[in-house]
Amino acid sequence: MDNSQVAVIEGHTHDNPALLHHFATEGQQKNAASLGMWLFLAQEVMFFGGLFCAYLVYRHWYYGDFSAASETIAILPGAINTAVLICSSLTVVLAVRAAQLNKRLQLVFWLLATIVLGLAFLGIKAFEYYEKFVEHHIPGVNFSFIEHLPNQPGVMANPHHAEMFFSLYFAMTGMHALHMIIGVGLFGFLAFEAWRGKYTSEYYTPIENSGLYWHFVDIIWIYLFPLIYLIDRHR
């Protein structure tokens, strides 16, 4: 009796160093890590949800001013950034695939490609912020907004309402950019560890979960792009 119980307890200390002692199998450990990541993303949905909710309320109230303010933002850099992020999501998929197939150099390459695309996104974003700075469209003491309402040439947009649009613009894209900066840092760490050979087809949970994070940040931008850049463009 005693011997068999000892055997069970000893059997619980695994041969695989990547398998933590409180998990029975690698599959269970992976599922637990994945579920934890999805729960984190669920609270991220609520976190960004508050910003989207504020946007929705003010867009409902100040629709004309919001579309006048939205028209001062150039579509092209935003569209390019959307494409850049979609490409970076593909490189993340290819990185996870390389990890699953145990291809270390491919994994490092796709992680670095993701970092390059992430930095390209941030560079274009910085250029857009610079333009807003030059146009005095940054909320604060030097804010100035002199534009007509899109459908009424004689009526000026209310600058305070436009300022609310730009406050939300900077809060939402800024929070998104902060997530991108964290993501780039995370992928830099992963690329370093991958280069050292830490990740194999047996253990690549950090790659997979960081990939989930990156895709989530991409999804936030998929919604931000039409909401911020494309209000009432047909006028």
Partner: protein, 105 residues
């Protein structure tokens, strides 16, 4: 525990094929183009509906294929996603039910 070298046949791992990943990537890029194009066509209030529908379609593709949810055997993952969306919907719909119907504004 045995036979981990053949990951494709192990319990929860799905390895996406390069072909299907590139197909999804192309669909996402085309949808971005359609979103921009549709914004310049006057559809009245439907412009927002079309833009958000395309965005939701794109987000669904990313979740199902890029985030591997279509292939997961973990049943709790869809539950987490659905509950996140449910509470997001609650936040947005109840807030708008309040702010949208205030007479004093």
């Amino acid at each position: 525990m045995a036979n981990h070298s053949t990951t494709e046949h192990s319990t929860s791992e799905h390895i996406s094929s390069i072909g299907s990943s590139i197909t999804i990537w192309l669909i996402l890029l085309v949808c971005t183009g359609i979103t921009v194009g549709a914004a310049f066509i006057d559809l009245g209030p439907l412009n927002t509906v079309v833009a958000l529908s395309i965005a939701t379609f794109k987000a669904t593709l990313v979740v199902l294929f890029f985030m591997h949810v279509k292939y997961t055997h973990e049943r709790l993952t869809p539950l987490v996603i659905v509950s996140a969306l449910f509470f997001l919907g609650l936040l947005l719909s109840l807030s708008m039910a309040d702010f949208g119907t205030r007479g004093w504004h």
